[in-house]
Symmetry: C2
């Protein structure tokens, strides 16, 4: 068989790269669990009818069918393209077994049947947190969800040198209240046009608001002026007030956004900005909305987005409001890994290679390894009773820092320094930094 070629859009990592991804996933899990989020996994497939509810995305769905399906098995299934549609279905299905507000995190692959194209992923990992209520969900959760994600991203910044982030936040109530205060009725359409402001500029947006929605120039200019407001602190409030619009929903939105900015600056300073151009095109958001940029890598687009939705799902009896934020794990780290932004201290979990003198004493080497493993030290027994030099090279090629010689009372060599010391396999421990592979920002 010839050497297989990669499939466009289906990224795969080498072991060394996977160590970086694992470090990211472990940090996410740790943070989410510290905040009381329960892990959930949903099946990879949903009925096509579920997946096509958001009209627009239908074209990107991968359908799944049995190669030899028979007449009785014409169930139409597709691979999930996000973790929100499955969550909505799962919550309805299991609501009777859940306590609300229900906090869940979910880290899974999702699939999109995109046209093959540079930088487009057809399979990628997402990490989502959501807090779902039954009937009601307090507004303070709209502050909590983005703070949890910011905390995770900040840990990644501290631990492995992920570039810092800047989360751009807005509130749908603020924008909708503002438009309403201006006498505009179809606020969603305004939102969707203003969403293009970043790309097409102020004048074109004003024109579009006039030609498409019939807004007069003054009204359109004020809509665009609103979208141009941003501030790292609560200064945005005065700028909004200066536009001379008032509406109770606007006040509610302003107040919620103020609390979010204040709380974020208290908990994770300098990582959030009120940015009233953030609209999030999707129609289900009803309050806070979030988009996150990696500082210095803004061209990557938003790496973590989400918001408040007043109806994740409804089963006739109850409506389930929620707030959530999603991190595009693959989208975030695959380009950084490819660009060599991280270094890993070694490519394997192994900390110690136990050398083998001769095949007859392999069992002794296995005893040494068992003693070290019993205390959490990852070991391999050398695969062959080669000359010591070759066994040391086996370790060196993998970046394994230590080689053990002799029995449980033997000697351990740090192959980086050449330092070799007597050691007891029931006592010896490597330094904390050497115990596990370490991920760091590349120099």
């Amino acid at each position: 068989m010839a050497r297989p070629k990669p499939l466009s859009g289906f990224p795969e990592f080498l072991p060394r790269e996977r160590l970086i991804e694992l470090e990211v996933l472990d940090t996410l899990r740790e943070t989410f669990e510290l905040h009381g989020f329960s892990n959930v996994e949903t099946r990879a497939v949903e009925p096509l009818s579920q997946l096509s509810r958001k009209g627009d995305i239908t074209k990107e769905v991968y359908t799944v069918s049995r190669l030899h399906a028979d007449e009785h098995d014409k169930s139409e299934l597709g691979l999930h393209f996000d973790l929100t549609v499955p969550l909505a279905r799962w919550v309805l299905e299991h609501a009777g077994h859940l306590e609300f507000p229900f906090r869940r995190y979910q880290i899974q692959k999702v699939w999109r049947g995109e046209r093959p194209q540079e930088g487009r992923y057809r399979e990628f990992t997402q990490a989502d947190i959501d807090i779902v209520g039954r009937g009601e969900l307090a507004a303070h959760h709209d502050i909590e969800a983005p703070l949890v994600m910011l905390e995770a991203l900040e840990k990644l910044h501290d631990r492995i040198g992920l570039p810092p982030v800047l989360m751009h936040v807005n509130n749908r109530k603020l924008s909708e209240g503002f438009y309403r205060g201006l006498g505009v009725e179809d606020t969603l359409s305004v939102l969707q046009i203003v969403d293009k402001y970043d790309k097409i500029g102020a004048d074109a947006t004003v024109e579009l608001l006039g030609s498409e929605l019939g807004l007069d120039t003054d009204t359109a200019r004020r809509c665009v002026a609103l979208a141009s407001i941003h501030s790292l602190d609560t200064g945005f409030v005065d700028q909004v007030r200066a536009l001379g619009v008032s509406d109770p929903l606007l006040d509610e939105g302003l107040s919620e956004l103020v609390t979010l900015i204040e709380e974020a600056n208290r908990r994770v300073p300098g990582r959030i900005i009120a940015d009233l151009s953030i609209a999030r095109g999707l129609d289900y958001y009803t309050g806070a909305v979030y988009e996150t940029q990696l500082v210095g890598h803004e061209s990557m687009g938003s790496i973590s987005s989400g918001g408040r939705y007043d109806s994740l799902a409804s089963d006739g009896k109850s409506t389930y409001p929620g707030v959530g934020i999603s991190l595009g794990v693959t989208r975030l780290i695959a380009p950084l890994i490819a660009a060599g932004e991280f270094s890993v201290t070694r490519s394997v979990p192994t900390c110690v290679v136990v050398a083998v003198d001769s095949e007859e004493t392999r069992e002794t080497a296995m005893d040494v390894a068992a003693a070290l493993r019993a205390r959490g030290v990852s070991c391999e027994v050398a695969p062959k009773a080669d000359k010591y030099g070759k066994q040391i090279r086996y370790a060196d090629r993998r970046g394994i820092p230590y080689v053990w010689f002799g029995g449980p009372i033997g000697e351990v060599k740090d192959i980086r320094s050449g330092d070799q010391q007597p050691a007891d396999a029931n006592i010896w421990m490597p330094s904390r930094d050497d115990l596990r592979p370490g991920v760091h920002a590349a120099e």
Copy 2:
């Protein structure tokens, strides 16, 4: 929307059940990494041509296609049905970046387009370890791989009360050498018929060996006699010798099996049995073969199987021999969970609910939670400034053991005992058992 119904064959866990699965997955990962296995994930899809190489399994493949595929995108893809076919492809694709022998573990979902039927999974998680060589791979790895899996299963026995296992092992060289020593040429066909011995009995097997392969009765009886041999120690050697057959390959197989049994009894006593009826129908095994039963749950079939294969893959220049063993995680735990074999101390990661006196002091409660989290204690701030009784019930319904009252210098109540003590959020720690949800055998 009406309450959705589960999809047959696609099991999903509730948060409490997922905690059990996570404990299993964490223990597997810990064990595999302690033995120096690197984690790899492969994409969920493979070209259909790859998946259909093992003729027989083709019918169970799920195909994947873009809902709106265009002319240029007629790639034929299917979901992987195991982790061995992807490994073979991945090793060939990335061989230039790997060091051999290469040790990898892989824990992922796999899919099989089975007819919907009780107890058949269409999506399930497998955990595989393999050691892959380039050109050659020493026989001692055939002992290592099953011992690593046994160690993981023994940890699960000790930690969460997974029933003990008994691994049934044989060696293809032993059987094939024996058949060869009897003058049989088509040893694979004998193996495949003898594989039915457990189901159809000795007489029917002898008859089949005669009618299908033309073996004389004495030869057929000795083939069946071989399959009936099993021993917890190395007693099987004398029983084989007593059948009066000799062949160099038989000697090699006997010797390898003796070493495996001896080593396993030394490292994980009482969990292995030489069972010469184990054949593993698949034609690619060439040495040691393993099947594992859960004691008291033998009707589940083998929960962990594998063996030695001399050619996982070949790219013309090099051949890649390997040895591996796979654990059917879902297959193992889903029935045990459904049968109530495990109990979990709580359904959420949360250890402490920080009570909220009034919405005005929510920020103080958030400070308490932040202080506790900084030292690894999972917290939630109560969602509502209800009466304390209601906030305690919020914790109680989730099995959360502690409720915190007041600020960072406050009081913490163990709601199980009712005991309430002054505590400092920068110092206080729960007991080790309470820190994380615990999984145990049900009483």
